[in-house]
Assembly symmetry: D2
Homo-oligomer: 368 residues x 4
């Protein structure tokens, strides 16, 4: 479905970096879900460039809900949220058109759209579009919380600095969502910042790994074969520009392990069935097993770097060199964390709707 | 869509391990595509347990095409392929029901289906079902080849033994598809076999990494944001039971790298635009860029091991121990390679249909 | 989605008239729904040619459930039902190929499938395929009944003979489903039969109107704009070969009426909100309003008639005459009634699943 | 998919009558299709209340394309078109809430959305929303015309006045699209107007039948079983509030006819295969046969009439009387014609994309 994701609760994404606005339509919401503009704004703020390690550009992210909300609550009909773009100086883009920025979508989009793509600032492929996902997250995350489901994303590693693992997951999630810089061990903030700034000073960029934990998902959610929890989450997560790898639970490290070491033994914890370890990241056979969901996304280094790079001019079909001007993020892994959290919320809300019906979000946790 | 995958060309999967048959329905095929039962059979043979490192069970994999083929060619209407299950001794499963095999779908399925799931041999969650995917691959892979698109999957690593990388990709793909044991360096066969058998003798199992390369995909294919090449491929790949991680191009290793090191510089190669490196695995912004597609799947160790394991009886809600009897694969990474290849073919055929229309497979490479 | 229908509960149809088998895959069923082969068989019997007014062909309609049922109940995984075709004498079809039977799919299918379609007996476009829909109905109709929702279809008119309207709907539905010839006024049976046989003796065929009533649908079901009750029902109903018109409530006659005459005034009936009339057929704004659903399908005369007809040979591109041999139904309106009832059940089950979640069919009417 | 329609080229609809804006997102368009704001505006003008027979309300229908168009052409990424609502006096709606307007969606929507629906002016169920469909038509209709496919909709009958049938279809379509009042026989304009005004003066409303013809569709388009031309068209057409019946070709009148009278005999017309009659409306077996598409929609009388009506207050659960104030259309059949035309264009564009791929609209008629 191209720019629409979800089976029961869907999100449709639209917009270009330098067009009048970007936005999203959420459909399949029940009527009666509270929509709090402050929560949306605070989530957008977490994605917005703000710290020393982000791009120097400033975005306002004013948003407008143009449908689907009435008297502060969802109506149950499509909710369209619009984020106007501010005036951009786009004139200079025209002269650059044709020079494919390496590891960007420029050339691939040209092949797909035959040169009709809006190339200014990456157009529809700009990270800018993720603001609409985060705005949607500002509606969906509280819906999950109303069912007792919470989630948080932290920078597991960046520029050689490694954050600690999730420990007390509920506490860790709460801390992440309260803080500005999404790491579990706050001592890592200075180290990461220093390393990122060092890369920046070397006209370079760094990648990182973002790790997400979800607490409170009931067992029995997921629609395998194809619409398994892993299938749906990865589909949505790989839609994010910089994500080049996704792994659940112990992921790639399980490939080097043995069954005796990474099978998760079930045990009774009073009346509740849990597993002693969680190498499978809370998912067996594509279905939640009641344990926390845990997964990681590999985020590649920002492809926009200030160095001179080799590339081609795909219009002229010749080799050229390219110097990308302007202010760019030396690392996007911090800013992608709220995006991943929002995308995760979308997938989980959709799977919950499929299983429990549209109105589950009005009913509270006891109905799960 | 639960057990249906694809937008333009869809596959619907059905069947249980111990039911009368498993199968798949392919819809959206054009009329006129040759269907060669021998190719299907030879692909099924590659998935079938046969070597020392596989389960001792023997499966016949007789298949029947019950619709959609007439006089050796697709009709354009739904193609249903059926693989009957042979008689299984299922009586003994009943006494085991309730004892959740660790890292299997048993408990999660029980939660989802309320105890009505067919639990015998893993039911719908058995790896057995992948035979239907491979059978479909026997139709889809030749369709791609008719467009000049070839693909191969090898065991990149297993039990500590590492295969070499793709080098001359076309030659490597051809060799893989001609051989029995999917590695690029045949010297690794004995080593892997030995290590797998060692794990087996220790009543244990191993995982591995399967790597796939696709040659010949035209630039400009993919439907981002959501139905990007990565999004669609990962969605389908994570539907496979043992897959716990997927990465494209340099994947997770890019997270530790720098933009200056892993940006893929475009260059003219005569008239053709290529990139000097391929860290992005042939995909920019979710769209093919004309370079080879490369991705890896992390496959966890087979959860069925012969050791006594701790678990719960979810019916009685008590801790128990479990000894899984029978013959199991100490490693599935070899047998999953043709499955991954088939699933990849499904995704690529679907994306090509979306872009070029249903009849592209009748037109040949010049029409791309 | 071509041969798949439904959003939450889907049916995928496959098969050709002269292939090995036809069938359907139902996906999205909950686990635990009883499946009674006798009910399926009795519904198939209602569709089967049996009376003087049907084709002289005899079909056995043996069916096999190859997946998705375990110990007499649905497992929750895809349910594939297969109906083998009996041996047909297909050799003589080849000589006829190219001569387009008027008002059949022959020529249109040739254009779509480029001559690769299975042309024998109409192939995938044969009314034969509706047997798979009826078999599915044998599972879905009892699911609705478990929620207190019943439905019946009668021949409203055929060959100039008009049946009475629904009166005591529950009683009428019960009588229809118990009887062999679906009319409300049994006195019409002889008249209709006589008129149909008269047409047959004149080497001709007749059409008719089939009317359906559904009792017990809760108010508030339907997903407008597009997946309104009318949109979904008509989509599925027009998939049936002979259906050329669908109208809800007073339908086309409302076009000639006035608002004051055909607005349905709401009234309290004790605690319940009802409408005094039901010109809207139980649907307002695409959503059920709690009144009975009522709609009619126009069924065209069977296009296969024994007279010499003008047509073209589309292979030779020349005018020819055609005499359709064999035994054909002079009217299909009787046999289409159980098909319409089954298709209606599919649509309503799907819409109920979307609203209430997969498990609603396990919960009983109080959960609506 | 609720408020999204289409498989290959999709439209997502959003907005409420009294919210900030209504709009639509078109996805799956190729890059490079010209978008002419004047065409959109002129189509919107045809839907806008303007004549004596329409509501006295005046709507501006200013629209804004917020994404997917660059330098006057589609980019190939989602095209969002927004139509702001003008300030409405909504305060008085609150006191009316609960009093279900007969034959409106009020009560059904209350049941579905639990009282959270935006009830002002019909909210999401207002005919107002069709403006977004017409705006989309302003993009889609020229795309069809670029392929040599034209379509027109006229009032076949209204208030007892009957327009003539299509004769020289191309000429008739051209005249319809050039004129203001969509009838084929201009002498009917005064008669219809008089009858409609008579109904209005009697505080009443009238319905009508709208008939559409499409010229130039290639043979072989349609995706039966389910996504047949009839299935897809009816699905979309029944999404329009007032439509209660849809019939193709001779429709319901075929139910009273005989095979010998309504089979369409094929004949060679020089090199082209045509049929002598067109009772099947250009569709056989759900697939176009190259003849003109013809279908009719029954439009019920506007439910808003100025008379006192019986109804219930669904909040208080009591019988009440209701007088609907304000200015309403005594007939919507004129204004629905451009809506039907736009919706038809959407369905046909989608089916063409499915068959020929995304880029067909850049290639011209020879590529069909």
């Amino acid at each position: 479905m191209k720019n629409t994701f979800g089976n029961s609760l869907t999100l449709t994404l639209f917009g270009e970096s330098h067009g009048p606005a970007i936005g999203a339509v959420l459909d399949g919401l029940p009527g009666g879900v509270p929509v709090d503009p402050d929560i949306i704004a605070s989530l957008l703020a977490k994605r917005r460039p703000s710290s020393a390690i982000d791009t120097g550009r400033r975005e306002a992210d004013e948003f407008q809900i143009v449908s689907g909300v009435f008297e502060g609550k969802t109506t149950g009909t499509p909710l369209c949220i619009l984020i106007p773009n501010e005036d951009k100086h786009s004139a200079d883009y025209q002269s650059l058109y044709g020079k494919a920025r390496p590891s960007h979508a420029d050339y691939a989009a040209f092949c797909k759209y035959h040169g009709f793509e809006d190339y200014r600032g990456g157009g529809h492929f700009s990270g800018r579009i993720t603001a609409a996902l985060v705005a949607a997250g500002g509606i969906l995350i509280p819906m999950l919380e109303g069912l007792g489901i919470t989630l948080g994303t932290h920078i597991k590693s960046c520029a050689g600095v490694v954050d600690r693992d999730f420990e007390d997951i509920q506490k860790d999630i709460d801390a992440l969502n309260a803080g500005d810089f999404p790491v579990l061990d706050n001592q890592r903030i200075a180290e990461m910042t220093a390393e990122i700034l060092r890369a920046k000073s070397e006209l370079d960029s760094v990648g990182g790994v973002a790790e997400t934990a979800v607490l409170g998902m009931p067992a029995g959610v997921g629609e395998p074969w194809f619409d398994s929890v892993e299938g749906m989450l990865s589909h949505a997560l790989f839609s994010l520009g910089g994500v080049k790898g996704v792994e659940f639970g112990s992921g790639f490290s399980m490939a080097d392990s043995r069954g005796s070491l990474c099978n998760d033994a079930f045990r009774m914890q009073k009346d509740k069935i849990v597993s002693e370890t969680n190498h499978n990241g809370g998912i067996n056979g594509g279905i939640t097993n009641g344990m926390p969901l845990v997964f990681r996304c590999a985020v590649k280094p920002t492809p926009s770097i200030a160095r001179m790079q080799n590339t081609v001019d795909f219009l002229k079909k010749e080799n050229v060199t390219l110097e990308i001007m302007g202010r760019h993020d030396p690392a996007i892994v911090r800013r992608i964390c709220p995006v991943i959290r929002s995308v995760t919320a979308l997938v989980l809300c959709d799977l919950l709707c499929t299983r429990y019906g549209t109105d589950i979000f009005l009913k509270g946790r006891d109905a799960l």
